[in-house]
Symmetry: D2
Subunit: 345 residues, 4 copies
């Protein structure tokens, strides 16, 4: 931590800051520059020391040197974490694809889409049973019945089930049916929930909050990891910016940026990231080209009849073509994607 | 809802859209312009119709006409809602002030600060017992012990206790000690939590999420209101923008904008909204001048020893001066603020 | 400047960085922490050294310590700069108000509004002659004829004329008619234009660009100051964020934040900052309460017939009431605002 | 244009709005909904009518239906515009690459880099002679000498020279040396400059401003097109958001989104878009995969000695590898990229 003193700081002020640094159990090292004195605080604990020092009257700013996350860091574990659930493999050079409808609507719908996305190369099935909806007047999901239908689709196809859990007390119920617990973007900083899925030991798909910085995103993962659960997949799904022509702004640079800092696999959600069906295929391709460890895509047999997220949902044919294009790109980069399977009608 | 068709839409396409609109139970009204045909869908239900229509291939965009919230709207209830809890009164021309430390740290700390802020004119006491912290390595609050100390400070001062609740299952516990349940910015779209505080019937302080639009904010309130609980105070606490010189960007135009649309009272949090202690007093004054129904301010007897949010916390003297300035401004606008009380040491 | 080395940096890497720092004419000071080595580079020149050092393979990040602007800094000149043009006084405890239509439209219009705003207490007259418009199909201003009409309105009222200049070659022409040269938000980083208005020696109103940071804003001012011209008024007029319910987001914390860093006066533009006429009066009041040195407000005799910015323009009566409210607030803060004058029809 | 009236609007109010619409030369069509009356204004002129109508007291909001740009629209010209300058071809299925240093520094530097980037497959040479720099204390470019060196490098390599022009009066000078006039992001809304490059008839590379919406971007192009010059290349170079771990946020969805709306070619600048050299290669690949018509990339023989933009500049080897990877991806999509040429030392 570097503590920059105000220009007006005199000898006494420097002494006060040094004492404060030492009171925090850190070693202080004073550097007198031509215009400013800075105090390097060595032995940082990554807690609230920064805030405390910032509040001193003689301090202009405090600059942290160490990343605030530990277990998520590549410095802790240089080799990539690979998350494996059933046939779904995400990370370490393997691109895993999760696809399915926004919401589970009926047995027919979920089984049909599960078959179609598996045929196109997906190995995970997404589908919301508990739906966090902006409006209390929107369809809120089939709840436990939705979970049951997802499990049924899994029996039919072998796909790993990925579905959202919204409260700590739901974890047990959802874990009974799902293979991967999804933490939605709105809940990225719902710390009790993060701890609960951490404790569950199950694989977790953690979506980036639409206003979360990289540090906040990795610290959210840290809450899960800190429970001893390292089966965490990070998911970039778009951020909120001044752009309104797309639902969110999808910043693909997140993928290589995080790659340099964490061993956790990183996937991309071009459906929420754009909110527009016609932009989903090109952004899927770009996500693969940038080095993503996977995709999560909204697919529905008839998007215009979908009960939620209709505008950003693609149909199974478009999905299959997109997967084909992605597979060709992955190949040029030496990455592996699962094959399309002959459709068993 | 106005459905704008693509330029290429022919007679058949228009017919398909009209049928789709009617299938949704709405009345369709076709308007042929010089360059575009639009279909007005009358009788809107404010659910997912917009998404569904957006996904049709012949549709370019769908423009909603009605606000998506109902109970929160001024159209439903033109007169202002006034929230009253003990001596704290927020709304309807009365400016209510809530102040206190970020976290409850000890009996001595919370009682000292409660006395000081009451003396300066506050009628609510804030203080975190359950703390949502970005890092799992930061101080997480005293939990139930913190609640107990808040109740103790209330006994000493009569201030209404405002404190955060983080999960649906915590509601019962927190409600046993608190007067106002606070929903933090990170949980603004934690819908299960919103429903739980709605059911509790207690007064709720709902903070705007840092990336929430006005519609999302009011729809979050709607989740609470929809449970029959209208004791909701909205709180603007800053949004995430490209500005990093302040912790968040505090958009005071929120106050008059919401005033035109909702009957719920709106207060401002200049501590989180700026993140810098020296900016808190001028932004408190500005919040009063813009017409805010109240303030929530972080105050600590010795900010540099605060266990959290030290950099944005002011001391009791600064708070008292700020309240004095705010009271003078409120007076020029015909608003009422509670008096400073002679300090009973 | 603090150069943070990568965790992997060994002795040889540290030596290379030290040499690079010294090659830049700076003194290197090595600090070995528990997890990172940092090199303090003393004697910083505020040029491109930061970028250069960032590009070294052994460097993780470079943290600047000194502000990049010099002449604009309070450290260079602690007492506030007061800009005085005719009866308009901005800064040093005096709140100066500039008002008038978005565009000059006719002699009758500009003279009528000039009289009205003077009567309400304004001492500067705004009005666009050269208009930067987003669309080439929008009204582009009366050009030189507009300048002539502004000068005529000045003769009638004595108000200082504030009007925009768009290219370096226009400076001479505009300077012939105007008292204050306005640099619009879109041109905040038009450096040739900044130098040209700097050379002119005239008073300059510099609007913040909608995506400009504080450093960029002050460095834009520095381009003007560097020409020996210190008659610069800074203007916060709103930034672009995810908020679309207002035209821009108006962050009033800019005012006290800049106050701590620069001696230049800072005013606020609530018309562009909100884009909505009904929000202009409350945001004018808030701007005064936060400590602004002035306001610039769009006023038109009949807003619904204004040729540009109609939606954010207020009428003279609303302006007069707003000024009255602002004056009362200014008084409570010990600030001076010019009096409303009896209208001489 | 759809004019939504306030709920309180009565018969008389509706009549007033209809009259206002008709006064603007538009046809009014009244639709009475269950909760709101809306007036469709048919025959829109894409000027300031929206603002004017918004300002009426009985109007709640005005929703435009037509895009505000005309010549740039695909509706005006469905087939893609291909810009060809020397061997550089951008658009219509041909990916053209422009590369070179941020600033021209010396004959040796520019000729060396020109040879290297041509050998890797670039057909355009970028290099700044007039440099818009945030700080007046940074290197401002070699000016005309820089232009001369660019022309010399063109003689050596045949590459098309792409360089920035900063004022209308510079156009003539820069046009004497350059093949493509670049409008920098800071000048995207410098309308006099846009008109001047439009009049020049030369090819123009128009960079998106960091806070520009899609409509503003296309309207800036419209200023050039409106002068009869259709040789315009659009360039996405990143937007300003709350993300600070990258210099800007690079939203690649811009490419397919604009593709649906305009016939103009669209390229991507991953150097400015990320600001970090290690992120440039993956984002180049992603740009190709998303369907970009080209790239503009900062390349320097020794990035750590570059006089500007050092941190985001890659060396010729990295550039050659990146081009190779991009070429393989382009191939899978059926796009053409220029070949790498045997280096003629």
């Amino acid at each position: 931590m570097i503590v920059v003193l105000k220009k007006t700081a005199d000898e006494a002020a420097i002494r006060r800051v040094v004492q404060h640094v030492e009171r925090l159990g850190l070693k202080a090292h004073v550097i007198v520059g031509t215009q400013r004195t800075v105090v390097a605080a060595i032995g940082e604990k990554r807690g609230d020391e920064r805030e405390t020092l910032s509040s001193l009257p003689e301090v202009e700013q405090v600059v942290p040197i160490l990343a605030p996350y530990k277990i998520a860091s590549r410095e802790t574990r240089p080799e990539p974490t690979v998350v494996r659930v059933r046939e779904l493999v995400v990370g370490g050079g393997h691109v895993g694809v999760i696809a399915g409808p926004c919401s589970v609507e009926s047995e027919e719908q979920i089984v049909e889409v599960a078959r179609a996305v598996k045929a196109a190369g997906a190995r995970g099935l997404r589908g919301g049973a508990f739906k966090p909806r902006t409006s209390p007047y929107s369809f809120q999901g089939l709840k436990e019945e939705g979970l049951r239908l997802l499990a049924l689709a899994r029996e039919e196809t072998g796909l790993a089930v990925v579905t959202e859990v919204m409260t700590p007390h739901q974890v047990e119920l959802v874990a009974r049916y799902a293979d991967v617990l999804q933490i939605g973007a709105r809940n990225m900083q719902n710390y009790n929930l993060l701890q609960a899925v951490g404790e569950s030991g199950m694989a977790v798909l953690l979506k980036r909050g639409p206003a979360a910085t990289m540090d906040e995103f990795l610290l959210a993962a840290e809450y899960i990891l800190d429970q001893g659960n390292t089966n965490v997949i990070l998911c970039e799904r778009g951020i909120r910016t001044f752009e309104t022509h797309t639902r969110f702004t999808l910043p693909l640079a997140t993928v290589p940026y995080l790659r340099e800092r964490t061993h956790l696999p990183i996937i991309v959600d071009p459906s929420h990231g754009t909110g527009i069906a016609s932009l989903v295929p090109p952004m899927c391709r770009a996500a693969i080209a940038v080095g993503s460890d996977g995709l999560i895509v909204e697919v529905h047999p008839d998007p215009s009849r979908a009960l939620s997220d209709a505008a950003q949902t693609i149909d199974p044919e478009t999905f299959a073509e997109t997967m084909e294009a992605c597979r060709r790109i992955a190949e040029t980069l030496g990455l592996t994607m699962d094959e399309a399977l002959p459709v068993s009608s």
